[in-house]
Chain length 315, copies 2
């Protein structure tokens, strides 16, 4: 029986999950309507299409939908923040079709300063899946803006952002390094990626900004195949993320970090970790849906009686 | 009396200088026709327009015009390379209108591997302007692809490329950091730039990839004015270039590097150097035209008699 709906609404994608009372996913819908690529009619139209035919029931949304460029700007919750703090910061928006959607707030770390929107929900989801991580853990959420998150006693204690994915995309799509290259499938991920990771590690304290151009020189010399440049670049940049975090005080030798997110992207970080002689991190997938479900379920239990805690049928 | 023509033909711009016998510039013409932004009719048409009315006389071109994507691919000369090596590597192309243009080869450093096209001519020009630099010097040529060049005994001994300018442009034009910002004029270059440089220095061995996102967080918090983000980013990235080169074995404490290139861009590197407590580098401008003239003049003297060493009138 459908009991709640979770919406993961980021910059470039939109995914809705329909949950039963035990948190099992009954149906998933994906649309290419990130907040930067909405249909012309905007958020209301996207939501109306996305949830069409699904019952009226408690609905939460996480991600950039709550940013200044989103549907409605929801104030950040300050770190340290746990699930209860996120629930207290829920911000309810009523869509044109009458549905109420509770937007989960992002988290702000004043020490950076740094901000996240969406990853806090994945962290909560990972903690639901692996309660043993709540005491003390370090989580890595690779992506357009990778987040490194320290968790203690169920709280997001501190975090920092590394723009690895965005830099990769920019170099690949717009720079002189990307013009002659094609994206390869992950199936072929191999020596070129490893070579990039090794070059990043070998860059020492200088870092890879001085090594990026080597991709072009290697290609011109025929030592790097044109269609391997993107793997080499990916290795350089993911390697730089590990190098940089090892050089800072973020990656603590006594903790084994976990990777959370897209399985194929996490696999790249996992492979790079091995080349840095870091113990292989565990990979946690589906954390976003799990976190959405947990927050909806807990918010519904805590909510005053008039809030809908059961589903009503809709158009 | 016009005696020779030098053409600086890069990725995004095209500049021709008409020289007299003493190397004085009689006229300069600038067109927006870099090799990536040529008029539809291509190189011949661009050249025909550019040099229209100028006499037929020894003509050299430097830069990406000699690259694989250029007018004609000219093989690199290997480092160590001096002016004579460049002259031996000149590659003559005859344009549709009958003009002969000698393209100056780029230089390749197999140790990187790394490559340059155009900067070698600026280095020669700087050595002509400041012969005392020939014995032993370190030159920095800021740009889309900044080059750090070690010179000894008049030879380009080794060099490396830092893609600072390209990364800045990509972040500014295409990333989440640039979307809400406007470019400021250099006149307003001030605290935001300095703050970026200081953040880069403070990043220590971790480097600025972990700090780039702070520009967004600072902006969201109102601590960084939207129209100052580009200056802050510029400071972060130019600061990273200094940080990185100090962390490597490139920047040698016993040498005072010189800056070669665009005066306003060099001024940013000069300002950043001060924040790193590096002795203020001297700034050398107009090195490209000077290098072109020197190479043409020397090549013409050395050339067999049938080469045109005097000007003939043309269309």
């Amino acid at each position: 029986v459908p009991r709640s709906i979770g919406i993961d609404w980021g910059t470039s994608s939109l995914r809705a999950s329909l949950f039963d009372g035990a948190g099992r996913v009954l149906e998933t819908r994906v649309r290419p309507w990130g907040i930067r690529s909405l249909p012309a009619e905007g958020f209301d139209a996207a939501l109306s299409d996305l949830l069409s035919g699904w019952p009226l029931c408690p609905t939460c949304a996480s991600g950039m939908v709550g940013s200044r460029q989103g549907w409605h700007e929801v104030p950040y919750v300050d770190a340290p923040a746990n699930a209860d703090a996120l629930i207290r910061g829920l911000f309810q928006v009523r869509a044109a079709n009458g549905r109420d959607v509770s937007i989960i707030p992002g988290v702000r770390d004043s020490a950076g300063p740094d901000v996240m929107r969406g990853e806090e929900t994945q962290v909560i989801g990972a903690l639901v899946q692996h309660p043993e991580l709540a005491i003390s853990s370090q989580m890595i959420l690779p992506g357009t803006h990778s987040k490194w998150v320290d968790v203690a006693d169920g709280y997001i204690v501190r975090f920092t952002t590394v723009m690895t994915g965005e830099i990769y995309a920019l170099l690949h799509e717009h720079s002189i390094l990307g013009t002659a290259t094609r994206t390869t499938t992950d199936a072929s991920l191999g020596e070129a990626f490893d070579e990039g990771v090794r070059a990043a590690r070998a860059s020492g304290n200088a870092g890879v900004l001085t090594r990026l151009f080597s991709a072009r020189a290697l290609m011109l010399e025929g030592r790097l195949d044109e269609n391997k440049v993107s793997d080499y670049l990916s290795g350089l940049l993911i390697g730089e993320e590990w190098r940089s975090m090892l050089a800072s005080d973020w990656l603590q030798q006594d903790r084994r970090p976990v990777l959370i997110g897209d399985e194929r992207l996490c696999a790249r970080y996992h492979r790079a970790a091995a080349l840095f002689e870091i113990a292989p991190p565990e990979i946690i997938v589906d954390a976003a849906a799990r976190g959405l479900w947990h927050i909806i379920a807990r918010a519904s239990v805590d909510a005053p009686p008039r809030a809908a805690t059961h589903c009503e049928s809709t158009n």
